[in-house]
Symmetry: C2
Subunit: 351 residues, 2 copies
């Protein structure tokens, strides 16, 4: 049974007393430095173990300037692919004996700035940042300026000297479009929640997130290659909100020349896409073909199963962490492919 | 453009120089303590801001014994409800200006022990632990012994003086069984991945996780109340592995007196349950009724939609963090209900 009276954490001095050695000797044994007799060392470590001694990380940080932790700042964590990437980061950190310091930014640059200040103040040994907006990044430049290794997660930031871990979204997106073109589709609608509901999309326009830009441009490239005008009027960037996303899909389907295929830029958007298509009684893929980015396991469980573009989230997370902890270790930045997985939700366009 | 030559992070001395004050004055202004002229304070803070000065957390921790961080040790993070609870914890920590120190235990007590040692060494101000096994908890008792506030996540630990944040699984489970009994079901199969494949379940048996025990016993109580022998032979605890879980469901359905209703103790198990039922060509709910714990959004998207037992993960996460950061703040531990949501996957038992 645990005592309910809290006791003070044991100190190196307590360990020294129990082991019957001087504090200087105990400190050397615990720190693993200096010359020390093997038998004495064994006695000190046994005493430390018996007392439940934890080395004081703050003192270690003062001495070494390293805190033994990896910092992660993420825009959103409830996207169901995030935990897979996060697991990769956590596993890599654990292998190196580093703790993970996490701070969410909730998609807001102001919160991101606070989160980075907090983690830099804790002297993290490296930082992974999934940037909220690539147009507002002075605080990111400061990270590299103070010499803390920075790795960007899935979003490139212009002018920032930091590696980016991302999958190649253009190639897999183009592959999806080529397949859709083969099946007779010309009107392909794309929805991503960039909170720019009024924006009329044009090819080459700079979007706040490079990954979204890659997806859209990847989808449109095969149109241009085939000499067909890409359906830029079928791109929507609503708020990150179920009602707004549903309204975007309805507006596409209510238009004068509606899409025969719909694409969702992530699985949370795809849930709403499915709801809208079903609520309108449209047959899949008979009346509309569907696809989404991210291979969530439920994509196989719905009827018909959903066509997806998958990326290796776990491996990417692991790689991001390794690079942030040991930037000198990577001579070349690894590249990750995204993969088109065709399933029953994609079929021939209606005549 | 960021410079590629790293510069040293600015110190309090740099701030003092720029502000034209002594280092002692700058330190007082930056620390917010001691007597200091308002105008001087303003000048120091402006200089700190201009230089991008971050207070050195290690020095602060040395002075105060508090690190300004909340520690979280979790068994598994890829369960898709985890990020929702985690978001609640992160949001609560952010409101208090605390960072979140995260360490995964990967379901292993040895890893949990390491993770806790790591976070205690970093002098977290409070700890939330989702314990790997309630039968091996000496290291948890040590947390309370050193006076670090501890909150247990969803798993009670006998003899440990720490609050537990959990939803009441017994009541909602019993409600599900009563509904199934009304519909004529007597053979109800339950699968949870406790990695005890050989164990024959008996009511009252102590399971490694209190939440699983609550679920099973909650499911069986209405049998006893109705004077019907509960189907203890239809409980399976396979390894946490897709093939093992599938084998468990197949063994139930291949038995001499197979279940007419199947229950999965979480959504990841439910994915495999659905795969097995579909691969055997069983009609849902005509030939078998299905239900799962956790209300993932895909439960509504499959055909027929799945009956679930839901719990308020976000609110529970927020509450756990608040309690770990301010244990004196809660006079009574809040209780959380789980809720049965009946959907099309539950129907009348076949005659």
């Amino acid at each position: 049974m645990a005592s309910s009276v809290p006791t003070k954490p044991p100190t190196a001095a307590d360990v020294a007393t129990l082991a019957g050695v001087s504090k200087a000797t105990a400190t050397r044994a615990l720190g693993g430095y200096g010359r020390i007799n093997e038998e004495t060392k064994r006695r000190v470590l046994a005493a430390a173990n018996q007392l439940g001694y934890h080395p004081n990380a703050a003192a270690q940080t003062m001495n070494t300037g390293r805190s033994g932790s990896l910092g992660i700042v993420a825009r959103g964590i409830t996207n169901p692919v995030w935990p897979v990437a996060f697991q990769g980061m956590v596993d890599a950190a654990r292998l190196q004996g580093l703790a993970v310091l996490f701070a969410g930014s909730g998609f807001e640059v102001s919160e991101e700035r606070k989160a980075i200040r907090l983690l830099l103040g804790k002297q993290v040994d490296g930082l992974i940042v999934s940037a909220a907006d690539r147009r507002d990044v002075e605080h990111l430049q400061r990270i590299t300026a103070v010499g803390t290794p920075l790795v960007l997660w899935e979003r490139r930031v212009p002018g920032l000297d930091a590696p980016v871990i991302e999958a190649d979204m253009r190639q897999a997106s183009s592959e999806l479009t080529r397949r859709l073109l083969d099946l007779g589709h010309r009107r392909i609608g794309f929805v991503s929640s960039l909170a720019m509901p009024q924006a009329a999309y044009s090819i080459g326009a700079e979007l706040p997130a490079s990954i979204i830009q890659d997806k859209v441009e990847g989808l449109f490239t095969p149109f241009s290659e085939a000499g067909i005008a890409p359906p830029v009027d079928l791109v929507r960037f609503p708020e990150r909100d179920r009602d707004a996303i549903a309204a975007a899909y309805h507006s596409l389907l209510d238009g004068p020349n509606p899409p025969t295929a719909l694409i969702a830029s992530d699985s949370q958007i795809a849930e709403t896409m499915l709801d809208v298509v079903r609520s309108r009684g449209l047959r899949i893929p008979g009346e509309v073909s569907l696809a989404m980015y991210d291979d969530l396991s439920w994509a196989r469980l719905v009827d018909p199963p959903l066509t997806v573009i998958a990326q290796p989230d776990y491996d990417m997370g692991k790689c991001a962490a390794e690079l942030a902890m040991n930037p000198a270790g990577a001579s070349t930045l690894p590249s990750f492919s995204a993969r088109l997985i065709l399933r029953g939700s994609v079929g021939r366009a209606q005549d």
